[in-house]
């Protein structure tokens, strides 16, 4: 089997990243400043590769890479189709933006831990890419553990309270991963295979088998813990609020999304639509997601710590994605059918939450401001950061033409098509609740005056502009700009063919067999 250069990229994305992690560790002994450079350069190279992979997948077709030349189902195989390639680009784009941001912020927050921070960060990226490109279910488990372990350590890096948060995440995350492993064991006991494609060929006659059904439940529960789906979200608020801000952004924007990707992959690539229609589990997931949307938003309103509020908002946003995934088997439109709204919201949520958490980090960087009530007058002190926050916040609320608006429209259209009107009400109510908790922050930033500000001297010395460094501001503004630009791009329907290919792959949406 002779492969073109691009067809080698799926494995190179991982190898380069893994080698870079250990290079950083060694280079850090000599020069601490080199860590950031190596990490940034690696992720940039990975992102370029990911873009080439996406282009290749869309123009030529799915990439199969056999590790060590061992043919599947015996050897491990990396399979990249439209779904992986799309997720891979999102993962690496946000990773690049966060690493750019982290240069100044980590030097300020964790000056003693720069070397270990970037080593772990690179391992985290390795794990996330690994989960995304692999076509072998046990390999997926190993990569899930790699990124989870790096995430535990990164969350704990701030010390003190973060340690407790990290420990809770570790215990719950390990239970989730163990359930996933148990699911693999169940499938292996009936099929004797671990290759996803091979499993999808062996499984159909066994769909009525209780073991196969139990395995699916284990996968769903295990990954639901990892992605913080509503009743299993208890680790998330602490972990998100006490982690360093770029890690919060990664956690909320990427890590829980990659777990969602793993669930989509297992549901549609290992099992198929035929199996999902056999069991009412996706209907159940829709209801769980709907409760998650409402309760996440209500809890967000009750918070006064900005990062904690955003964390609860993530719980509600994961509800959106799972609701869209749950509806995917019952919609047949060419536009909003199948997985389109879910995949769309994965990208959109990464942009919005990435931006919001980085802004929250900026406030902490500048003045150790954690609580919303302390944000008085920030709109004048940090005009660009606050503007970025506002753009992302209005996206979350769903003001056109932002990304949040597009996702909500698509999800609501999917709800309408499948005839589940109650979820339309849930979506609208949640937009209202989003408005409540984001408006509170915007109001404090712009409408209320700072402590030292006099009424008559709004241009006095206390309201002088005091912005974060450019290396932090550019990532924040990029994400904020993308929140609006991507919204317009989605409305023009240019990127929809990518998602259409995913639907074609899984037989969803307009490709569904009635």
């Amino acid at each position: 089997m002779i492969l073109s250069v691009v067809e080698q990229f799926p494995v190179l994305v991982i190898v380069v990243s893994l080698l870079s992690a250990f290079t950083i560790l060694i280079a850090g002994w000599l020069n601490k400043k080199s860590c950031w450079v190596i990490s940034f350069a690696t992720i940039l190279v990975q992102l370029v590769m990911a873009v080439f992979i996406l282009h290749h997948v869309l123009t030529v077709g799915t990439i199969h890479y056999w590790l060590g030349g061992w043919s599947p189902p015996w050897g491990i195989e990396y399979v990249v189709d439209a779904l992986n390639a799309y997720i891979l680009v999102i993962v690496l784009s946000l990773a690049l933006i966060c690493v750019t941001y982290s240069k100044r912020s980590i030097a300020h927050e964790l000056p003693q831990k720069i070397v270990s921070f970037y080593t772990l960060y690179q391992l985290l990226v390795t794990g996330l890419c690994g989960v995304t490109v692999t076509g072998d279910i046990f390999n997926m488990y190993v990569f899930i553990e790699i990124f989870s372990l790096s995430a535990y350590a990164l969350i704990a890096s701030r010390g003190k309270i973060a340690l407790k948060a990290s420990f809770t995440y570790l215990v719950l995350g390990s239970i989730g991963a163990c359930f996933f492993l148990l699911g693999i064991g169940f499938l292996y006991s009936v099929t004797g295979s671990l290759n996803m494609h091979d499993l999808s060929l062996i499984l159909p006659p066994l769909y009525e088998n209780k073991v196969v059904q139990a395995a699916f439940v284990f996968f769903v529960v295990g990954l639901s813990i990892k992605m913080a789906l509503f009743p299993l979200h208890t680790w998330l608020p602490d972990a998100h609020s006490f982690a360093p801000s770029e890690i919060s952004a990664m956690l909320s924007g990427i890590i829980i999304e990659v777990s969602t990707y793993a669930l989509i992959r297992v549901s549609f690539s290992v099992y198929t639509v035929a199996f999902i229609k056999l069991l009412p589990i996706f209907d159940f997931l829709c209801w769980v997601a709907a409760f998650g949307i409402i309760i996440g938003s209500v809890l967000a309103i009750a918070q006064y710590n900005l990062k904690r509020m955003l964390a609860y908002s993530s719980v509600s946003q994961m509800g959106y994605i799972m609701l869209a995934v749950g509806l995917s088997t019952s919609t047949h439109s060419a536009l909003w059918g199948g997985l389109t709204p879910a995949l769309m919201h994965i990208l959109n949520h990464a942009l919005m939450k990435g931006c919001l958490f980085l802004v929250a980090g900026a406030f902490i960087y500048k003045a150790e401001l954690w609580n919303i009530t302390d944000f008085q007058g920030l709109g004048r002190k940090m005009p660009y950061t606050c503007a970025a926050f506002m753009l992302a916040a209005i996206s979350m609320i769903g003001v056109p033409p932002s990304v949040g608006f597009v996702s909500k429209v698509y999800i609501i259209l999917a709800c309408l098509e499948s005839g589940k009107f109650i979820f339309v009400a849930v979506m609208l109510l949640s937009s209202l609740l989003n408005l409540v908790y984001f408006w509170r922050v915007i109001e404090t930033m712009y409408m209320k005056r700072g402590e030292g500000e006099e009424r008559s001297h709004s241009h006095s010395s206390s309201s002088k502009i005091d912005e974060i460094p450019l290396s932090m501001l550019i990532p924040v503004l990029t994400l904020a700009g993308l929140c609006i630009i991507m919204g317009v791009v989605w409305l023009t329907e240019i990127p929809l063919p990518i998602l259409d290919q995913v639907n074609a792959l899984f037989g969803l949406g307009r490709y569904a067999i009635p």
Binding site: E145, A156, K160, L163, F167, L170, G185, S189, T191
Partner: protein
């Protein structure tokens, strides 16, 4: 294929699976009910060990757990260490693959335990205790 039907002798014939389930529940209980963080980690380890036992049991061919009709060896042909030098059809072989998978899972388990223990040591330095309740109390005193 494993005979999952609830028949006579299932407790005795599949005793390793029952032990695995029992261990899993013990581990789960320890993680939920114990307030001591170290005991939670021990619970986690028991849980992981139970899964390892489950996988290793899958590879045990004498229980016929390796799928019906899959009595073929992974490598066919002549092998120096097989009986008579020839690997035969129809002879039951233990499946090495679940065992190999568990080597990886053991490594992952060891790494998880290492991270957890490191966190516990840091928490002990910070709060002077490893009881969950006391840590939460001290956090409250710090005003979070």
């Amino acid at each position: 294929m494993i005979d999952w039907s609830f028949g006579g002798g299932i407790f005795i014939a599949k005793y390793n699976y029952w032990i695995s389930i029992l261990l899993m529940l013990i581990g789960f209980y320890a993680m939920i009910a114990k307030g001591n963080l170290l005991k939670k980690v021990i619970g986690l380890n028991i849980f992981q060990t139970a899964i390892i036992l489950f996988f290793v049991s899958l590879g045990d061919a004498t229980l016929g757990s390796w799928g019906k009709g899959v009595t073929e060896p992974i490598v066919k042909g002549t092998l120096p260490w097989a009986a008579g030098g020839i690997v035969e059809h129809g002879v039951v072989y233990a499946n090495p693959l679940p065992h190999v998978l568990m080597l990886t899972a053991i490594v992952v388990g060891a790494a998880t335990t290492a991270v957890a223990l490191a966190l516990i040591i840091r928490m002990y330095e910070e709060y002077g205790t490893i009881e969950e309740e006391e840590i939460i109390e001290k956090e409250r005193e710090l005003g979070v």
